[in-house]
Subunit: 352 residues, 2 copies
Amino acid sequence: MVSVGPRRFEHDVVNFRLACDDFQHRVQPERSDHVDKFELKLDQAARAAWLSYVGGRTQDEIASQLGVSRPGVQRLLALARQEGLVKVHIDHPLANCMVMSDAILKRFGLEFCDVVPADPDAADSSAHYLAVAGAERLSRYLDRSEPLTLSLGTGRSVRAMVEALSRIDRPQHRFVSLVGNVARDGSANRYDGVMVLADKTGGERFLLPAPVVAGSVEEKQAMLSQHLFQAIAEVAKQAEAAFIGIGRIDRQATLFQDHFISETELEELLSLSAVGELLGWPLNQAGEVIDCSITRRVTSLPLEMFRDQSLVALAGGRDKGPAILAALRGGWLKGLITDENAARFIIESENL
Amino acid sequence: MVSVGPRRFEHDVVNFRLACDDFQHRVQPERSDHVDKFELKLDQAARAAWLSYVGGRTQDEIASQLGVSRPGVQRLLALARQEGLVKVHIDHPLANCMVMSDAILKRFGLEFCDVVPADPDAADSSAHYLAVAGAERLSRYLDRSEPLTLSLGTGRSVRAMVEALSRIDRPQHRFVSLVGNVARDGSANRYDGVMVLADKTGGERFLLPAPVVAGSVEEKQAMLSQHLFQAIAEVAKQAEAAFIGIGRIDRQATLFQDHFISETELEELLSLSAVGELLGWPLNQAGEVIDCSITRRVTSLPLEMFRDQSLVALAGGRDKGPAILAALRGGWLKGLITDENAARFIIESENL
DNA sequence: TCATCGATCGATCAAATGATCGGACAGGAA
DNA sequence: TTCCTGTCCGATCATTTGATCGATCGATGA
């Protein structure tokens, strides 16, 4: 899955390295006849490149046309690409997305990164695309016929993803919710993502009978020691991949709006410069889990548990940028599905 | 040598056909879900194209990344190219030349066409490039070790070409001058192209002991019946290729300036709408040899003789455009070495 | 409901491409 | 002059790419 290195067109990110190679090549022989020779070679390279990329000739044809051997043509083409003579442009709105996706992928060592297009003006324009892209990735797992365990976080994005999924019969699969589906008032969320997913596939469902954040440290301990909780946690540990959302930490934060944390607690998190949360675990700008009074009451499985799973995050919108960036910096994610706006924020923040 | 058809990038000329194919595909299913489906496919195609051409991924990598089979990726890439999503630009002054060269090559069914860059302001800027390009082609023949017969016309371009040639030891080759090296006053040109070429290679030289245009029909007949003349003509017939210049027919014409034809004769040619000449044979705009009083006195070998030889013409400059175009239209040439200015004239005249 | 048509998809093979290696050649130092 | 060193060039092999063909799936109409 990991790219084995630049193969054909070395633009964008890679160009930098090649430019350096070039530097060593060209600056050393400064004398004019050498430069002339180089220019001549470049001319030939340009011809070869044109014949190959625009004219669509094969290297054999080019070879006989330019009067060199085929390997010679190959060297000319390589030269032309190194010197940046060949410019490829993909004429499609997705091209930008691909550029950013690739940059993020490489920067944070992800296994995949999908960036869906979004209109910067229309705030929620990308929500549906995000859901579809997520469903696409999700169904990649579900397609398999061998039994599979997947875990899901909460959030609008995750929810929309499973709703965008088309029905598929996979009774052998198991789905676990990573985040308690019980609100602080004790009401259970009947429409948890796992429920929908299990309905659509006919698979088994495992729901965590707990709130995200317990009322007290003691309550958390009590919950963690429950047999049922431990059994479900055990299933979650076997999951191959986890699809989760990324939460902001500010007054619009889901954690706060849904009353999982109080205003005082929010203030505390903000004062500790939390910028996002993963499964209820608050992260600072560097992506480290912040140790504070709230952390000690979070009932979610510890993030370390997901080191050997494919932790896939879905989140979009420029507002979520800082939170997504934190998750990336922490190295928690294996996959990211986001939108153009958030991606642009990340690219800018990291100077990519 | 002939192109076997579009292979990879179908731009420029070929794009037209592909656009038609596309038309049939896309217009028939006008219903919106079909269009949507097509759009989705195009999105995928854009992604695939980006990953392949910009990202430099291999098709296998793209396949696993997009979750389709490798042939699927191939179809996506083909689609992307058909739809014109992939734009390739060669960032080099020669790119224009290559475009024109290719257009001329295809339009007139040449075996090769070299277009060298030229500054439209500096009139003679391309003369040297032309010579070098010609020498390049010439040495392609000379490199061969088997005995070879080549014939040469006259003119500054041909002369410059042989001078640009580097020395090479080929005593087995034979070189024939196609145009008399005797001026009307009887003086022989000691520095004929053939002389230089034979000097540089050590090959045999055959010079036509005649002026281009004889003084009268009788003189021509006398000359053609000479044994020496016939012997040399016989050698010329065995030539594999002929490198010749292309002459204008106007007051700047070499034929006229060197007094091979008189002012009256020039007027006659112009009144018959001659626009150029090949080895002294005047051509009209369609490239047909004009039958007139001068034609009957031209001592050069008939152009028909070169139908099964590689007749290669060297000529540049916008002024020579009409003459070159005539030679091309007549279908006399197998190869053309010209410059940007002349090429542009040809492209514009033929609406390419 | 079934048969047929069409389209799409993936396995297979041929062609084209990229990379490595050994050898030749030129330029420079002993 | 001879040897050495670095560079360039072309033969060969592995990989990648393109194209064809049969199979499968879904749609359409009887």
